[in-house]
Structure formats: C-alpha cells, structure tokens
C-alpha cells in the first residue's frame, strides 16, 4: 500500500463536511422585485464567533424541505456576527426561501470557494464592476475595502442594472455615491422614469461604456467583475482594450453546484471546479478553460 | 306528471357512465345507460402497426383488465400466424390471469362495491372504522399485483406479455415465493367470501334469459369455445355470427346482442355455468357449500359474491399452476413467430366478461384490420334491461332512492 494512501486511511474520521449549522433568519429585506436580502445568525453563539470569510466566497444554504443552494455572501467579513445573503427567486428552492421570514430556521455550511485575492489586491487600485445580481458578492468586497480603506489606493464601482426598480441595496449605494473615497458610476439599460433618471444621472446603456471613463492606471489596478454569464465576454474585451492586465481581472462565475466542496462535479469549468478552484477566476483562465464564459 | 332522474356520473365504476331515467305518470317511459367515455379508436390505431405492437397498444383499453386484453390479442395474433406456444408459456399466461383476477376482483369488491353495503361513500373512508377490512382489500390486490409484476414486469401494462411468449420468465425460486404468498392469502379470500355472502343484497330477479361465457372450468384457464346458457356452443371464429354489434344512438360504447337478445356475461354468468355443469374446483366447491346464497342465480347483485367465488378459484388454480410449472423447468420462454397473411381470433374471459379480439395481417405482419368486442359493450343492453326492471319495481320510491338502487345495480356489473 502506498504511503500516501496509508496516511489518508489512518487519519481520524474528519467531521462531516456536509453537515450544516443551524441558523435563524433575523431579518428579511425586499430589495427589488424577486430579490430579497436575508440576514442570518447561527443558533450557536460560538459558531457566530468562529465564522469568517473572504469576499467572493459562498455558502451552501439549506432551504428547509426544498434543498441546498449555493449563495454568495454579500456581507463583509469586517462586520462580525452576521451573514447576509441576497437571493433572487428563480426556481424551486429559491421560491420556498422567499416565503420564509424572521425567526424561521435554516441551515448553512461553508464558507466555500476561493474568494477574491484581497491580500494581493492591497496596495493597488480596485475597479469593481457589477451587473444585476452580480452586485451581491461584490458588496462584500466593497465593504471589506471601505472598512480598511487605508490599505487600498483608488476605488471605483461600476454598476449596471435594467432600471432603477431592479437596483439592489438602493440606499446603501446612493450613500456610496456621496462618499469621496469611492467613485461610483451607475448605468441603466433603460431610463424611463424620473427615478431612473435620478439614479444614473440619465445614463442609459451597457456597463461596458463606463469602463473607458475610469481614471485609473490599468497596470496598477485589480478588477473584480460579477454579472450575468453573457456579460463577461463583453466586459472582458473592453477591459483588455483599455489595457487592464488579464491576470489582474477577476471574475466570479456561477455554475450548478450540489456539494460546494469538489465532489459532485456539476460545477466543472474545463479542468477546474468552480466550487474549490473558484468561483473567482482570473480572466487569464478563459484562455485555458474552454466554456468558461 | 313527468319525472326525470339523471345520474350524470356513475361513481365507483372503472369507466364513465351515466343513467337517464324518465318516469311519466308513474310509469317508466324511458331509460338509457350511456357510456360517456371518449372513444379511443383502437381498431384504427392498431392499423399499419406491426403485430409486435398490437398487445402493447390494446393493453391500454383497460388498465384493470389489461392482462386479458393483451392475452386475447396475443391469442389472435398467434392464431393468425399459426403459432403454438409450449405448455410452460401457457401456464405462465394462466398464472398472469390469476394475478389479474386477484387484483381486479378485489379492487371491485373492496373499493368499488363494498361501500354500497357498508353505508360509506368510499372504502378509503372506512379505514378508520374497519381498518382490517380495508387492509385485507389492499392485501389481496397486492397479491395479484405481485404476480403481474413478476411475470409482466409492471403491475399495470406489464410489457413482458408478448406474441410467442415472454422475453424472460421468473425463476423457480420466485415462483415458489408466489405459491407461498397465494397459500397465505387463501384464508383472506375465504373471509372475503363469507363477508360477501353475508351482505344484504336487494331481492332482484334479472329479466335476462341468455347467459354467455367461455367453456372452461375457470376463467384462469383458457378456451376457444363459447358457451350459451340455452345449450348452444360456438367457436371463437363464429363469435361475430352470434354476437352482433350495433352503434348505439346515445352511448360511445357499441351495443351487442346474441340472437337479438340482451345476454349476461361476467362473473355471475361464469359461476352460474360452473354450478349448472358441476365443474367447480373441488376446493372451492367445499367452501361454497357453506354459503347461505346459492347459485345459479338471476340476482344481478350476486355478481359480487360470484367474484369472491372466483377469487378463491383463482388462488387455488394459481397454486396448481405453479406446481405444474415447476415441474416443467427449464423451458423456453418464447417460441418463434413467423408472420404471414391471415386473420386470427382470440377470446378470453376478462374479469368483467368475455372479450373478443380479431386481427387481419398482411404478409409482413402489419395489421390491416381489427375488431375488438369488449365486455362493456356486451353488457350495455343487459344492464339496461335490469335497470328497467329495477326502476319499475321501485316506482313508488323517492327519486334519490331510485337513483341509488340503479347505481348499486350498475356497479354490480362493474362495467
């Protein structure tokens, strides 16, 4: 028998990585039609203490009776004790979740995935690009950066949505606009109502249009992108055109997942697993990972 | 004064039926039994299909007696092609029929008929008060289901019932298990027999004069000869000469008559024949001696008791069939089938009555013509006659009561 296997077989039984922790919903906020932000707290106080994550990581959330779903953490690790998840109602399990309210029990395991390389990003400019629900994991990054603002150079946030109604974290993002330490550019697919007008200052179009307006030295900048799968191709192209290095552009990818820890296979992207090797990938990987975007 | 009584949906029957009764000046002026179920064009959809598809398609005529439809069509195809199966295949087919009777008769007795006599709208609702009776119903059904699943592959529409035999056959161990199970349900069937003997059947004499069934000591054993209670017998090839079908002016089922008369088929006709000809299985005969009701009978309601008698027959036959089967192992699960042009006939006793299939094939084995006569069609006129009689007897009663009596009667036929 090989030594390596002998070692593996003789290890004490590990804790079951599939066993989630009980958590309770403490708050639900309706952000936009079909989009709700849920705040959770673990029932066991020590679990709250122990919890920490990196922006960009996700959890496996058990929706009682319906099943487990992978959801990005949208709260920042710098704010201890709470986990916030923003969930769009798209199907079987999310529908059931949307019916739950404060006091209801769920179960959570994680955090999983690699998260954004925040430590490497320190000391650099950061450009954050969010499309639609993609703002969720990036919200975690935004607050992480803002809470440790001194560690980073200039920060930009580009955010595109369908219209004002679909904008998530409306208050929070409006307030960010006021701040001096982050530059926010918002755009809408359609500007129709006065609210739309106010939100994007009348800007209508695709998020790619904003990239050219960013005043950052590309080689000194890390880019974090999250949005619908179809958007990556265009955003990537535009970023490269503007001189951002491929190895400094990070995208968050979504795949079907059943386990979160590299066992079920559903999330394979080329030779990598989105759950353990991702969900954050440098754009450079697109060259090597067919079907990535 | 004109009174119209309509039963728009007969409940607790397998098909869809309605009864219209018109009473004028305290006299029955019109009565109609209508089958409202949509036609499914079986004689049409079997056309141009290969002979191998026929049993599968006609299986879908009825989900409760699919074994009979499948086998009747298989007999017809084999008749057309001159196929002779071996004894083992024949016995397995009989055993399948045992399964079908156990399931179909116990379904009818416990789930469709029994609530009428126990005063419940449904057997399911009896479960609280009579859990054991309900469970016995399930248990008997299950015994039949297991046999059908074992041989046919599924409980309903098992696909392993083919022209020429079977794709595979059960092992001896599996058959022995079935035998053990059959022996175990025999006491339950006896209990059923006495339960149904003890029920309060309405006094009723059906006006029909003619009864018909296959000439065989058990519906689980096959025959190609048809028996009429007036002493006539004829072969399956002559079926259409005797049983004449007409399109009904108000029902989706066709109407049949023999010698211009309505005629009784089904469990009561079969059991009546066995008594008349003294052909009852000896073990069944023993049990039947202890019953308070007697056969032959013209009380249509006793079809229910006749079903219970047949259940017992089926179980005993099943045990015997398995014994013979075990002595035949190993045998070929199927025989070769070579299609040729021609017409074939198949008759079989389905749980609710005699069934007739006829197909004509071209030389490559594609169907070019079909005729299927179902028990429901053949029962239509005899049930109508019965209804007429029962309504005339009940003219004094309340409308609801008349309806109720009519329903119970129709249900006894399990159309």
């Amino acid at each position: 028998m090989k030594k390596s296997l002998e070692k593996l077989l003789n290890k004490p039984l590990p804790a079951n990585p599939f066993l989630p922790l009980k958590a309770v919903i403490t708050d639900v906020e309706e952000l936009a039609p079909e989009h709700k932000k849920f705040t959770f707290s673990f029932l066991e106080p020590s679990a709250c203490e122990r919890w920490s994550h990196i922006p960009g990581q996700f959890v496996m959330l058990t929706v009682p009776k319906a099943g487990e779903i992978p959801i990005s953490i949208c709260s920042s690790p710098t704010r201890k004790g709470v986990i916030e998840l923003t969930v769009r109602k798209v199907g079987r399990k999310t529908e059931v979740l949307h019916k739950l309210g404060p006091g209801d029990l769920v179960a959570i395991r994680g955090p999983y995935g690699n998260g954004f390389p925040v430590e490497i990003m320190e000391g650099h400019n950061v450009l954050i690009i969010a499309g639609g629900l993609g703002i969720a994991p990036l919200r975690s990054l935004i607050w992480y950066i803002l809470d440790r603002r001194h560690l980073f150079k200039d920060v930009y946030l580009l955010y595109g949505t369908r219209n004002y109604e679909a904008v998530l974290y409306k208050d929070e993002l409006s307030r960010l606009k006021e701040r001096k330490d982050i530059k926010c550019l918002y755009i809408l697919d359609r500007v129709e109502t006065p609210e739309d007008e106010k939100w994007s200052s009348g800007r209508e179009g695709l998020i790619t249009e904003l990239i050219g307006e960013v005043e950052l030295e590309p080689s000194e900048t890390f880019v974090a992108v999250c949005g619908p799968p179809v958007a990556y191709k265009f955003i990537g192209k535009e970023l490269l055109k503007n001189g951002y290095p491929e190895s400094q552009i990070f995208v968050s990818l979504e795949r079907k997942m059943e386990c979160g820890i590299g066992k079920c296979g559903h999330c394979q992207i080329g030779y990598k697993f989105a759950c353990v090797d991702g969900p954050i990938f440098p754009l450079w990987d697109t060259k090597n990972l067919p079907e990535m975007i | 004064m004109r009174k119209e009584l309509n039963i728009n949906h007969l409940t607790r029957v397998e098909g869809h039926g309605a009864v219209d009764i018109v009473i004028e000046n305290s006299r029955l002026s019109e009565i109609r039994l209508r089958f409202t179920e949509g036609p499914r064009f079986f004689e049409f959809i079997t056309r141009e299909r290969l002979y191998t598809e026929i049993p599968k398609i006609v299986s879908r005529i009825c989900g409760i007696c699919y074994v009979s439809h499948r086998l009747a069509s298989v007999f017809a195809v084999e008749d057309a092609f001159g196929v002779k199966v071996n004894r083992g295949i024949e016995l397995l087919r009989s055993l399948l029929t045992v399964g079908e009777y156990l399931e179909s008769h116990s379904l009818h007795l416990y789930f469709l008929a029994l609530p009428d006599y126990m005063g419940y709208p449904s057997t399911l609702l009896m479960a609280k008060d009579y859990p054991n009776v309900v469970k016995r119903g399930f248990k008997l059904k299950e015994a039949g289901n297991r046999i059908m699943k074992l041989i046919g592959g599924k409980t309903v529409h098992g696909e392993n019932i083919l022209v020429g035999g079977f794709a595979s056959i059960p092992s001896q161990e599996e058959l022995k298990k079935v035998r053990r199970e059959l022996l175990k349900v025999i006491p339950e069937i006896e209990a059923t027999l006495f339960l149904f003997d003890g029920l309060d059947y309405p006094d009723f004499t059906s006006p029909h004069t003619l009864e018909m069934c296959l000439n065989s000591p058990s519906p689980c054993l096959f025959s190609s000869e048809v028996w009429l209670s007036d002493g006539t017998t004829f072969t399956k090839k002559e079926y259409e000469l005797f049983v004449r079908e007409d399109v009904s002016p108000y029902s989706t089922a066709k109407v049949s008559r023999v010698k211009g008369e309505p005629f009784l088929i089904g469990p009561l006709a079969r059991v009546n024949r066995l008594f008349k000809e003294e052909e009852l299985h000896p073990k069944v005969s023993e049990a039947v001696k202890r019953l308070k009701n007697t056969f032959p009978s013209k009380n249509s309601h006793l079809a229910n008791l006749a079903r219970a008698v047949e259940l017992l027959d089926a179980a005993y036959r099943g045990v015997e069939l398995i014994e013979e089967l075990l002595s035949l192992y190993p045998f070929e699960p199927s025989v070769e089938v070579n299609p040729r042009a021609g017409t074939g006939f198949g008759v079989k006793e389905a749980p609710r009555g005699t069934l007739y299939h006829k197909y004509t094939f071209d030389s490559s084995g594609r169907c070019v013509g079909a005729n299927i006569i179902t028990p429901t069609a053949q029962l239509q006129s005899v049930i109508e006659e019965d209804l007429k009689a029962i309504v005339e007897e009940s003219l004094e009663a309340e409308g609801e009561e008349i309806k109720k009596r009519a329903e119970v009667l129709v249900r006894a036929y399990d159309p």
């Binding site: 028998m1 090989k2 296997l5 593996l8 077989l9 290890k11 039984l13 590990p14 804790a15 079951n16 990585p17 599939f18 066993l19 989630p20 009980k22 058990t62 009682p64 009776k65 319906a66 099943g67 487990e68 769009r88 798209v90 199907g91 029990l105 769920v106 179960a107 619908p228 799968p229 979504e254 795949r255 079907k256 059943e258 386990c259 820890i261 590299g262 066992k263 079920c264 296979g265 559903h266 394979q268 992207i269 080329g270 030779y271 990598k272 697993f273 353990v276 090597n288 067919p290 079907e291 | -």
Partner: protein, 355 residues
Amino acid sequence: MEFHIDRAKVLPKANLWELLEGLKKRYKLIAPVKEGEKFAFREISDVSSVELNYTRTILPPKKFLLPYRRERFSYDPETMEFKSSFKAEEQVIFGIHSCDLHGISILDSIHLKENPDPRYLEVRRKTILIGISCFPDEYCFCLSTGTAFPDGANWDLFLTDVGPDYFVSIGSPKGDEIVLTFKHLFREIEKEDLELYKRSTAKKKRAFNEENLPDLERISQLIELEYDSPVWEEEAKRCLGCGTCTNTCPTCFCYTSVDVPDLTGKEVKRIEFITSCQYPYYSLVAGEHYFKPTRTSRFRHRYYHKFVGYPYQIEKLGCVGCGRCTAECPAGISMVKTIKRLRGVDEKELREVTE
C-alpha cells in the same frame, strides 16, 4: 537454498474455494458472477457462483464504495436537526481486475484528499480489496493508461493466475492478516513461482492487440489542442446522451442531490444520486442557461475531464482503460477510436504503418 519473500505467497487453485468460504463467514463477500451474457459484482451467498474468468462487469465495484443512490442526511425541517443513517459494513470485494483497482485509487484521491468524505473513508477502511489477474479483450486498453498491473497502490491481496496456482501478492497488513488466518491454504514461494509470475505478466502484455490501443502520450495536450476539431461533432452526432459511458465508468463520480420530504413534512431526506455530464440538466443554471448546451460540448467534456481535468486535479488520468464505456455504449462509440481520430490516425493507415 530456501527461497522466501514475505510480500507474496502461493495459493494452489484448489484451495481458493475454501478461502472464499472462509472469507464469506467473516465478512460480507462481494465477487463477480455471471448474469446472462454479462457479469456483475454481487453479494455472494453461494461461493460456487463466483466467476473467476470474467472479462468485465457491467458496473465497476465502485457501487459498493459509493452507492448509486444514497441518503446524505435526513432532517427535521422544524428543528433543522440533521441525522445521518450511514453505516459501513465490513466487506471483502474479491476478484477485482487491475483497472478497477486503479479506478478505486482515483476515487480515493477524490474522496480522501481534499475535503475528505468521512463516509467514504469509513467504507474504504472496512473494505478489503482482493484483486485478480485478467486477460484483455478487444475493448481493454489498460496497457495504454498504465493500469494493466496492480502497482501496489491500494489493495490488500492480488491473485495472479500462474497456471496451477495463484501467485498472491500482499499489499497491506490486512492482506497479511488474511493470509495468516488461512495459513494452511497458502504455501511459501519458490523460485519457479517467481518465474511463472514474471512470465504471466509478460503474457498479458503480449495479449494486447496494438490496434485496440490508443496512444495516450501527452494526451492532455492533444485534447486541448484538438478542442475545436470536427471529430467531436462527428462522433457526438451518434451520441444518444444516454449516460451509459459515465454510469459504467469506474472513475466517474458526479452526483445530484435532492431533498425529499415525506408526506407529513416531518422528515426530509437528502438523497444523492449518481448522474452524468452527458445529461443536459447537468449544467443548467437559472435562466434556462445551459453551460454545455450542445451534444458536442457534452460529449467532448467527458474526454476533457478524463484526460485534462483529472490530471490537473489529482495528477492521474481519469481513465483506467477498462473499456466499459465502449463495450456498453448502445451506439457503439469507442473511446479508443475517438482518440485515434483526434490523433489523425485512421485505422487503415495504422495498419499500413504496422505492416
């Protein structure tokens, strides 16, 4: 001179049945049996049904380590208390061919290394693997994948047929224990046995037909470079997407999990069932978006995962050359032929080269 090595013994063929009887008494014994024209690993109740000269079973012995359908947990949706009903049994899987042992070795890497699965670990610990030598048929290509022989990786005993006897290699302390328990059935090795053993190895190698072997040299690179080859689409046209290739593969491990509530809603079972990358829903995410939308992309993915993915993840090829995916494919699609086509060698040419 007395010849003696501790890592091997000789089991005279006649003694095998007694060994199996003995094992059956102590453990759940699993071994190949014949079913129809094919073979399957089954729990054995009568050792005389064990089939020693089988080609390949329809399903690999994987099913006794990772059941195709298993309950991960059950839980009470009110309290969110999770319960695992998982139990591992002491079992012996007897008669595993070398390729399947390598297959298990791949599963070991997946389930024991990163994020180890305690369920797998427990089963694995309680399972004794006894291999047996074999000869290739036209579908086997384990010589190319380097899995034709057990390399001392993960089994307990390995029986090599050397004519009158089995040459028994001992791979683990557990294997040793078995030999000790049944001492009387084994004898020491003699020099001739070693000769016979070597000869049988050579004999197996020679039994492969070059035509049935793919060239797997730098296979990862080949698959990557030929990513856009028309061969994929041509082969995929015939693919039914039935999933047989992955379901029968000793190294495939993908599964889907669903929560199944009972009628009363008091208990929910979380069921994992094996699935296949060949099924469209496998890569379906919200918005009806299929990441592998075409038959071609699904077809290609299997090769990609086996020959690029596994090497990246666990530094081993994901294929052990057992030939099941080819032998069982209803459409007759052959892994070896696809690889040969990708290499641009068509069979006629190949014959010309070898002639």
